[in-house]
């Protein structure tokens, strides 16, 4: 059969999704790109954007907070994924529900909840002063620490799930084989489990980093206007400053940043996956 040349009819199944995305996502994106490149300032607006020291602060805020959120998610998420992959039956189901169910709570609701938790008289402050780690109540709300804590809470499922799905497929006999060869539990982790789960880690990092770099609601509610990221600056440009040129420029910079991260990580993930 010369099926190789003919279009696979199954591909038609993708048509609704392609059409939908092309209209509601692709087209606006094209407009945005067009405006940033050929709008009032054109390419020069990128030049003035990168010439402005404030832009670099915003860029730094975006990258730093996203990196911190990703790091926190990885540190919390990896052990959770490990437990989840090793657990059986009911325990596994319970953990999965605990991870997935909170996703159904809106980001706004969670961000508001963190506002309460991180206040000067909030539970974090009360506990820290109560056990004597802080000499007096402190406010984490409207600080970058508070932002990282809140955002990590919201994004951690996107770190756990990809790592878990890779770990689940790792043959438990590999760990046993390593043990019988004389490898201690720590050696086993670093030489067997960790390298084999790298594709999951890379995917998790890509998910969380790109979401954390483009988050808008969480910084707006948890840290406020004095901490600007590319996403909040884009929003402000359009909504408050009516500066569509600046808005589309920052939006494109953010887009380029996240696309670069996703492409690089999927390439890395494929390479690491190819080795396993």
């Amino acid at each position: 059969m010369s099926a190789a040349r003919r279009l696979d009819p199954v591909l038609l199944l993708a048509a609704p999704a392609v059409l939908y995305l092309a209209i509601v996502y692709g087209l606006p994106l094209l407009f945005l790109l067009g405006r940033s490149l050929f709008g009032a300032g054109g390419l020069a607006s990128f030049g003035s954007f990168f010439a402005d020291p404030f832009s670099w602060i915003v860029l730094g805020n975006t990258l730093r907070s996203a990196a911190l959120v990703t790091l926190v998610c990885l540190v919390i998420g990896y052990p959770t994924a490990l437990v989840l992959a090793r657990a059986g039956g009911l325990v596994q189901a319970a953990i999965l529900v605990a991870i997935i169910l909170p996703l159904s709570v809106g980001v706004v609701v969670k961000a508001f909840a963190w506002q309460i938790v991180l206040r000067r008289d909030g539970i974090v402050s009360q506990i820290m002063t109560g056990i004597g780690l802080w000499s007096e109540p402190q406010r984490l709300l409207f600080t970058e620490t508070g932002l990282v804590i809140g955002a990590a809470n919201i994004f951690v499922p996107f770190m756990i799930l990809p790592i878990y799905s890779v770990l689940k497929l790792v043959d438990p006999r590999l760990g046993e084989a390593a043990a019988t060869l004389g490898a201690s539990p720590v050696y086993r982790f670093f030489k067997v489990a960790l390298p084999l789960s790298l594709p999951g880690i890379v995917t998790g990092i890509a998910f969380v980093f790109s979401m954390a770099a483009s988050m808008y609601v969480i910084p707006s509610l948890v840290i406020g206007d004095r901490f600007q990221t590319l996403a909040t600056l884009t929003g402000r440009s359009f909504l408050f400053m009516r500066n569509e040129q600046l808005g589309s420029t920052t939006a494109v910079v953010l887009l380029a940043l996240t696309v670069a991260i996703v492409v690089a990580s999927s390439w890395l993930s494929r390479r690491l996956g190819g080795a396993s």
Binding site: E176, A178, A179, T180, G182, Y187, R188, S276
Partner: protein
């Protein structure tokens, strides 16, 4: 007699209400090759995992080379394991797999490469040192798994059905190879299998396991010629089995009435006892010579290459199986023939309980 190299005493293991291992004792000598032979679910893999330290027995003790290791974690036992699916590290090359144990034990750097190449050449895989594991065939992976387990110089090597995924020709070649390799290295080995031919071919001794117990522990020849239980008779090799009742006993010889006629066998049973009579197929002579001669009708002749398997039915319903080099000329299904075998070749057991016979 000196103490055994590996000494397992009273090992038991239950999962919930299921007793998988029921008070197993096993003593293995240095450089001995022992097979644990039995059907799936007989506890052989559980016993292997207990020895490896991948599982802790509920009761019992494991002593290796004079040291009790019952509760010692696997990485401090010095016991190599070749897993059924080989469990090679997919992210490492062939040579890195073999080097893994040496590195994990902190072997001096300059000794690792020579050791790896020595063991790769032992299993004839030197040409594949830098290959990825995924690029290897099943037989090649198996060789790498053996090299990896042996490279660290374990006191004991455990093999969990390592040939079950290989086709027959390759399996037979690997069996001979593995024996050669183990003789060269001088490693004590325990080999788990459900394949009786494999066990008979390779082992110094075989432990026939059934329902969490060792039914018989003996040399392959003894197991084959003198199985001590009906299960061992049935599981190892082929046999004709006839239920019967003892009619008389005289100085270690009994006469048993079976559906195929009355046969004589060595044994001590009081008249009236229900028994099971067994005969190996190659012990039965066509034409009928020996103390036991019966008439039976040929029902089927199965050609098996080097041998022919002949199935007979006695008038009263007993079934017998005979193996001959070739079918006698002019013998057609339906013809009646006399079959004979020696009294000394007749195996006799108390009749198994109903459930076991089923």
């Amino acid at each position: 007699m000196t103490a055994a190299f590996l000494d397992i005493t009273g090992a038991s293991k239950s999962f919930g209400s299921a007793t998988v291992l029921d008070g197993v004792d096993l003593a293995v000598g240095q450089a001995e090759f022992i097979s644990l032979l039995g059907p799936s679910g007989c506890g052989k893999t559980t016993l292997l995992r207990i020895v490896a330290g991948l599982m802790t027995p509920d009761t019992g003790k494991v002593v290796l080379d004079g040291e009790e290791i019952t509760r010692r974690p696997p990485h401090r036992r010095d016991i190599g394991v070749v897993f059924q699916n080989y469990a090679l590290f997919p992210h490492l090359t062939v040579a890195e797999n073999v080097a893994f144990g040496l590195k994990a034990r902190g072997a001096p750097k300059d000794t690792i490469a020579p050791t790896v190449s020595r063991f790769l050449s032992l299993v004839q895989m030197s040409a594949f040192a830098d290959r990825s594991i995924k690029a290897l065939s099943g037989g090649q992976q198996q060789r790498v798994a053996v090299a990896r387990a042996l490279a660290v110089g374990p006191k004991l090597l455990l093999l969990d059905e390592p040939f079950s995924a290989l086709d027959r020709k390759l399996r037979e070649a690997m069996q001979i190879d593995l024996r050669r390799i183990l003789r060269e290295v001088g490693t004590t080995a325990i080999f788990v299998t459900h394949d009786q031919d494999e066990a008979l071919t390779m082992s110094d001794r075989i432990a026939v396991m059934y329902r969490g117990r060792i039914e018989q522990l003996d040399t392959p020849a003894e197991i084959y010629h003198r199985p001590t239980t009906p299960f061992a008779l049935d599981f190892v090799g082929l046999s004709s089995r006839l239920p019967g009742t003892v009619v008389s006993e005289d100085q270690g010889t009994v006469a048993v009435e079976t559906p195929a006629g009355t046969v004589r066998a060595p044994g001590n049973f009081i008249p009236g006892s229900k028994v099971l009579v067994g005969v190996r197929p190659e012990r039965i002579m066509l034409g009928g010579s020996g103390e036991n001669v019966i008439q039976a009708k040929l029902t089927d002749a199965v050609f098996q290459g080097a041998r022919v398997q002949l199935h007979f039915e006695a008038p009263e319903g007993g079934r017998l199986m005979v193996e001959a080099h070739e079918a006698p000329a002019g013998l057609a299904p339906g013809s009646t023939l006399s079959l004979g075998w020696r009294e000394a070749d007749t195996l006799l057991y108390p009749a198994p309980a109903e459930e076991a016979a089923a």
